[in-house]
């Protein structure tokens, strides 16, 4: 096995996903088969190759620091389940 149950549980914690007891074996099997497929990338030497992050090798474009958008605060807040004035509400974090 290239990836085990414990690792899958740890990935789920990092990804903020719940993995139930009934699903975990199937998930381990499927992720293991994907990792096996992915591992082929190690077959080729890439020591002198630069990574390609963007197919055009474009770099981040800069623009003048000018306001171009109007506020859509109300619209954005209206999409949330719970808000209070200008804030999104979440369960209490600090008592």
């Amino acid at each position: 096995m290239l990836i085990n149950r414990k690792e899958v549980e740890q990935i789920a914690v990092l990804a903020k996903l719940h993995v139930s007891e009934s699903e975990i074996d199937a998930i381990v099997t499927s992720l293991d088969s994907i990792v096996e497929m992915i591992n082929h990338i190690s077959e080729v030497n890439t020591d002198n190759t630069k990574p390609m992050a963007n197919p055009m090798d474009a770099v981040q474009r800069l623009r003048a620091d000018e306001v171009t958008e109007t506020s859509i605060k109300e619209k954005l807040l209206s999409m949330a389940t719970q808000t209070d004035e200008d804030y999104f509400l979440v369960p209490t974090v600090v008592e």
């Binding site: 990804a15 903020k16 994907i34 890439t46 190759t49 055009m56 954005l76 209490t92």
Partner: protein, 483 residues
């Protein structure tokens, strides 16, 4: 009235043979007849359509119309559209209404096109069969027990069944080309950066591109020309001049050098190989010169893609926290519970799988061995294409190793991922590529992929159009869907 192609429809609108409303109603009737059986639509957009119909008719009456004015279309449901839900095929966004229009939508709205509906798709554009939609799988008009391909399967089914002349799609690793091939229509993905990603729900940002489906390459050219263009709102938008991709459609392809990847041809099933060879022979008959080429690193494309795409997906989809928008679980006990349950309830199986693979590939200790390594493989593949394009003008290749397969036949993810073996290499290199229909195998459509060098959309559209001048495969319609 026989509806065939944007040019003739537009002429009928301009000559007052038909009104925008009447044209819309013809397609709406077809949608009402077939869309439910095909499960290709998630939401209809009647209010948007009504406003656009009036505006388009006024433009035509005042002789200010564009070729696309009044032409109905369906948008893949990952393009943000104000006033109507954008679900991305997910429970997570089932009730999401975007506060703005995607640039692609805005550009086509500005030309007076009529948005009729939002098309079904694999959840968050992750899939090659459309079986991953929260709203159920789309069915292929060529066989209701078969997949239409994915992820833009709803859009492809709409055009293949003649429910709209045009549909938008997006392609990350083959999501326009493969469904176009499996449903017997033409579909193009432009070069990376040509079409703005602003307002497209993100999957893998360095790969995602918008594109278009139509019966013919000619219609694809008209719509793609208007979709594309530099957009300051997309930080990866290509700073190149807007082009009319229809300009070269009528050029002869005599002397054009067409690259053939021998290794890919040898891997095909005999039936699909024969259909592909016939189409290539046709290009040769038309004056093209065939050149054998090699893409020595392309066999690693699927492996590299399934590091890069999931890594970017896990990062992009971390925005779905259940707080600001999207699905929220009931009665969370604390903040972590809110995150975990909202995401676990909101995302489907394949999306969770890719988030987990991406999270793993980006986790401490793995980044160099996987994400960085995959990006290096990506460069090698792009360099393979650069070398090939020093010898040839375009590459002709298969789209998919098989025709439309039956539902529930690819249960393990790796065999599904292999569906995109011929489409992923050009995606990683950011190249423009299209699929066009070239015949039937066992009564199911087969496509040919044309890949162009960077920003050479007009070249591949020219070749496809010339092929379609000499053949009738793009006019094939599945039984029961005659227009």
């Amino acid at each position: 009235m026989k509806l065939s192609g944007i040019k003739s429809i537009s002429q009928a609108l301009h000559n007052k043979i038909i009104s925008v409303q009447e044209l819309h109603d013809i397609y709406l009737k077809r949608l009402n007849t077939h869309a439910e059986n095909l499960n290709c639509i998630i939401n209809y957009t009647p209010e948007t359509a009504n406003q656009q119909i009036k505006a388009a008719q006024a433009l035509i009456d005042n002789k200010q119309a564009h070729l696309l004015t009044g032409i109905p279309l369906v948008h893949k449901d990952l393009f943000c559209t104000t006033g109507v839900n954008t679900t991305c095929g997910s429970r997570m966004l089932e009730n999401f209404v975007a506060p703005y229009d995607a640039t692609v939508v805005k550009n086509l709205n500005n030309r007076g096109m009529i948005t009729m509906a939002k098309a079904n798709m694999d959840e968050f554009a992750m899939g090659s069969s459309n079986e991953n939609s929260y709203f159920g799988a789309v069915k292929n008009p060529w066989g209701l027990n078969r997949v239409p391909g994915g992820s833009s399967g709803g859009s492809a089914a709409v055009v293949a069944a003649g429910l709209a002349p045009i549909a938008t799609g997006t392609d990350t690793g083959g999501s326009i080309r493969q469904p176009a091939a499996l449903t017997g229509i033409t579909g193009i993905k432009p070069s990376y950066g040509r079409a703005s990603r602003y307002g497209m729900v993100a999957f893998a940002s360095s790969l995602d591109q918008a594109g278009v489906f139509a019966r013919s390459a000619e219609d694809c050219a008209y719509v793609l020309s208007e979709m594309c263009g530099f957009d300051a709102k997309d930080s990866t938008s290509a700073q190149v001049a807007k082009e009319d991709f229809s300009e070269n459609l009528n050029q002869s392809i005599k002397g054009l050098k067409v690259g053939i990847v021998t290794e890919w041809m040898d891997g095909l099933s005999p039936d699909i190989k024969q259909a592909t060879e016939q189409a290539i022979a046709k290009l040769q008959d038309m004056g093209a010169q065939l050149v054998e080429i090699e893409l020595p690193t392309a066999h690693l494309a699927v492996s590299a893609y399934y590091v890069i795409a999931p890594a970017e997906c896990s990062s992009n989809l971390s925005r779905f926290d259940g707080i600001r928008y999207g699905h929220q679980c009931e009665n969370p006990v604390d903040l972590n519970d809110l995150y975990v349950r909202s995401r676990s309830e909101g995302f489907g199986e394949e999306v969770k799988r890719r988030i987990m693979i991406g999270t793993w590939a980006l986790s401490a200790g793995f980044y160099d061995a996987y994400y960085r390594k995959a990006q290096k493989i990506r460069r090698l593949i792009a360099q393979d294409f650069d070398r090939a394009f020093a010898q040839v003008d375009i590459i002709a290749a298969p789209v998919s190793p098989e025709t439309a397969f039956k539902f529930n036949t690819k249960k393990d993810p790796v065999s599904m991922y292999q569906e995109d073996i011929y489409t992923i290499p050009s995606s990683l290199a950011g190249l423009p590529c299209l699929s066009m229909p070239i015949g039937l195998v066992d009564d199911l459509p087969v496509g040919l992929q044309l890949i162009g060098h960077n920003l050479q959309e007009s070249t591949i559209l020219n070749v496809a159009h010339q092929y379609q001048q000499d053949t009738n495969f793009h006019k094939m319609v599945a039984e029961g869907y005659d227009e």
